[in-house]
């Protein structure tokens, strides 16, 4: 079993990610542990990857979670790079960390990035990698709105929504992707993981995960001192948006309809946040001046 774990770790480390990942003690979770049914395990057998990844995330350690998140982050950044604006990137990291510090997982390596993309979307990957598109940032009417969106994504990380979805989809995806691959098993394992990620970000999480992230998001923003209604306000803006607009199409495809999200928050928020003096925050232009220093 140890051999197997080491092999997997080697596979993952021997990726394009190279040295940057080398100090991370992660491997594909679940491999090499907890399998008492070790008879007949064949390292070259693709079938084992299916079963092992399938049960993998139940026993995922935090370093493993972070490692998977980093793989997915690299994929998203492969689709769209960061906006070349250090002040904007530092600002979003600072705001994002302040929000994450109000949660039960303040010590994850929270990292935030603005993707150079005109569309309107936001993504989270396991372990605390959060992305918003430039198009989203430009359409925010206040800092409280941006805080609400970031807090929604933080919610996905807190509840390990993507990690659980990987686990749920692993069997299916590996049958599709790994079995069709030729050659020996190991390189396919990482490639399969990445393919699961691509499918996941293209198809979206379960609706209930999105609703849960909304519930968490309004609270996290409020805890950080912002108007809790930033996220609901963004959702109301989305209600006014056209589904035929290509800048919103992936978001609409991967999320419940905005009206249903607003309706749930209406039902739950009521007067719970009335006594708080949450603020709207600073204008983005002021923040850019501030963070250019």
């Amino acid at each position: 079993m140890r051999t197997m774990k080491r092999t997997l770790a080697t596979v993952l480390l021997a990726t394009a990610c190279g040295g940057a990942f080398a100090q991370l003690p992660f491997s594909l979770p679940g491999f090499g542990k907890g399998s008492s049914d070790s008879k007949g395990i064949n390292l070259d057998s693709i079938g084992n990857f299916v079963s092992n990844i399938g049960k993998a995330t139940k026993e995922t350690t935090e370093p493993e979670e972070i490692g998977i998140g980093k793989e997915f982050a690299a994929t998203l950044l492969g689709a769209k790079p960061l906006v070349n604006d250090p002040a904007l990137q530092r600002y979003v990291n600072t705001l994002g960390l302040w929000l994450a510090m109000q949660t039960e997982r303040p010590d994850l390596p929270w990292t935030f990035g603005v993707l150079d993309d005109p569309g309107f979307n936001a993504f989270a990957t396991p372990g605390g990698y959060i992305f918003v598109t430039k198009g989203l940032v430009q359409r925010m009417q206040s800092e409280a709105e941006l805080a609400g969106v970031l807090a929604h994504e933080i919610g996905h990380v807190l509840k390990k929504h993507h990690l659980r979805a990987v686990q749920k989809n692993a069997g299916f995806a590996l049958v599709g992707d790994v079995l069709s691959a030729t050659g020996k098993g190991n390189p396919e394992a990482r490639s399969a993981l990445i393919n699961i990620g691509k499918k996941l970000y293209a198809s979206g999480l379960d609706k209930d995960d999105e609703f849960e992230a909304d519930r968490l998001g309004v609270v996290i923003a409020a805890r950080a001192g912002y108007d809790a209604y930033g996220l609901p306000s963004v959702l109301q803006m989305l209600q006014r948006q056209s589904g035929g607009d290509g800048n919103f199409s992936l978001l609409f495809k991967t999320h419940p309809v905005p009206a249903a999200r607003v309706e749930m928050l209406d039902r739950l928020m009521k007067d719970r946040f009335d006594a708080l003096n949450g603020v709207e925050g600073q204008a983005l232009s002021a923040r850019m001046t501030e963070f250019k220093k």
């Binding site: 394009a16 607009d245 290509g246 983005l284």
Partner: protein, 180 residues
């Protein structure tokens, strides 16, 4: 830089130009953005209002009969439901400004194909891992002291707020039971 100025203009525009909306449920029009303020009238579901301003949980609205007051912002919905083509954007200055912000987008209607579109399924499918960009992203990360000092200079006071419960299937009953 230009786009931030545009966005600032958008903020001002949002405050200056009214936008119409419908009530998504029966809701009380109140004199102040406070739940204990006087109730002016009760607006039935699907009452059309002009939204004048927003303050936290509240939106200031004006009714067709000229009454002005405050309603819970979440009791409002847009005149078109999400994912349908909204009315011409010319009636919505904020939307029109949004068009300016998205190069190549000339219309808000669902039927028009746009030259520019956001990250797509195809982009994801074709993506090659970019670990160098991950490293770059990490270089922009900050520590807790930086976040703390950001909060202090921004007058962001942490508040103790419990997470919201999962909604029950009997959500409507619960709403009635708990009242306002």
């Amino acid at each position: 830089m230009k786009r931030w100025i545009l966005m600032l203009t958008g903020l001002l525009a949002g405050a200056a130009w009214a936008e119409s909306a419908l009530t998504s449920r029966s809701t009380e029009l109140q004199s102040q953005p406070q739940s204990d303020s006087a109730v002016i009238t009760t607006l039935t579901e699907n009452t059309k209002v002009e939204v004048i301003a927003r303050k936290g949980a509240w939106s200031q609205v004006k009714t067709a009969t000229g009454q002005t007051g405050w309603v819970r912002m979440l009791s409002l919905k847009s005149e078109v439901s999400g994912q349908q083509a909204p009315a011409a954007s010319s009636s919505n200055p904020v939307g029109a400004l949004g068009n300016l912000l998205t190069a190549g987008r000339t219309s808000n209607t669902g039927t028009v194909t746009t030259g520019v579109r956001g990250l797509s399924e195809e982009d994801l499918q074709n993506a090659q891992a970019n670990p160098a960009e991950v490293e770059k992203m990490q270089r922009f990360s900050v520590d807790k002291n930086a976040a703390q000092s950001f909060a202090q200079r921004s007058k962001l006071s942490p508040a103790k707020v419990d997470y919201l419960p999962e909604p029950t299937a009997a959500g409507n009953t619960q709403r009635n039971a708990e009242g306002g």
